[in-house]
């Protein structure tokens, strides 16, 4: 069974989970090798950043024309985390891999930590129990990371 359900657990991240018909080792390659990333995620830009990061062009998908993507954390075949930097701000994309019962891979994509202005503010839901009137209709506020 594959289930792709965009969820919004806490108002600040996008979570998509699904089962893939390939072992984690193979999925890992598709998530970590630049040449393979360019074939499914976004086209890479001609000029790559000097620091070994990847530069994607998101324009065709309605995203930023330049997205700098830098590896933050990696646990081979299990977990991979990228810093996702664009003109609007920064966010973090994390891929979590686990073995599925059917011999494939259960993939969980978490795109969160949306921050503006050098990672000092983030979109966050109202604090539990805090009474808020219609300060903004969407229920999102900025929370300064102390």
């Amino acid at each position: 069974m594959s289930a792709e359900t965009p969820k919004q657990p806490n108002g600040e991240s996008v979570v998509v989970e699904c089962e893939l018909e390939a072992p984690p080792e193979k999925v890992w390659r598709a998530l970590s090798e630049p040449a393979l990333l360019a074939r499914w995620l976004l086209p890479t830009r001609a000029v790559a950043p000097a620091d070994g990061a990847l530069a994607f062009d998101g324009e065709a998908e309605g995203l930023a024309r330049r997205i700098d993507c830098r590896l933050l954390d990696a646990e081979p075949n299990r977990r991979l985390s990228y810093l996702w930097r664009e003109p609007a701000g920064e966010s973090v994309v994390t891929f979590e891999l686990s073995d599925s019962a059917a011999g494939g891979t259960w993939l969980k994509v978490v795109h969160g930590g949306f921050t503006v202005g050098g990672a000092q503010a983030r979109i966050a839901p109202p604090l539990p129990g805090r009474r808020r009137k219609a300060a903004n209709d969407n229920g999102l506020i900025l929370r300064c990371a102390a």
Partner: protein, 108 residues
């Protein structure tokens, strides 16, 4: 596009001012410049300047009464930030489909 909102919130003091306004005590929605300034080590003109930028970015609205100005959060002010996340909510499911296609094409 919505660059003004992101630029306005990129300044720590300005963001803190906005934050204070976005979380008024109890049901109070409106604050004066001096209330907003309390606790910040910046001058009143500086706070007014920050408020002018926030207003210019559509994040706050201003009401003038005599010599005093009162501010509140603009209801749709954070729309660009919401849109930012929403674009990715629409983006990822389609990417997963492309990943599945790639995995079929890959050797091994």
């Amino acid at each position: 596009m919505h660059a003004d909102v992101f630029r306005a919130l990129a300044d720590p003091t300005r963001r803190a001012v906005f934050e204070r306004l976005a979380r008024p005590d109890e049901a109070r929605q409106e604050m004066s410049v001096s209330e907003l300034r309390a606790g910040f080590a910046v001058s009143q003109p500086a706070i007014s300047q920050h408020l002018a930028v926030l207003k210019g970015a559509g994040l706050v609205t201003e009401r003038r009464q005599g010599r005093h100005a009162y501010y509140r959060v603009a209801p749709q002010g954070l729309g660009p930030l919401v849109d930012w996340v929403a674009r990715y909510r629409a983006f990822w499911p389609g990417r997963i489909e492309k990943l599945k296609d790639l995995l079929k094409e890959m050797e091994g």
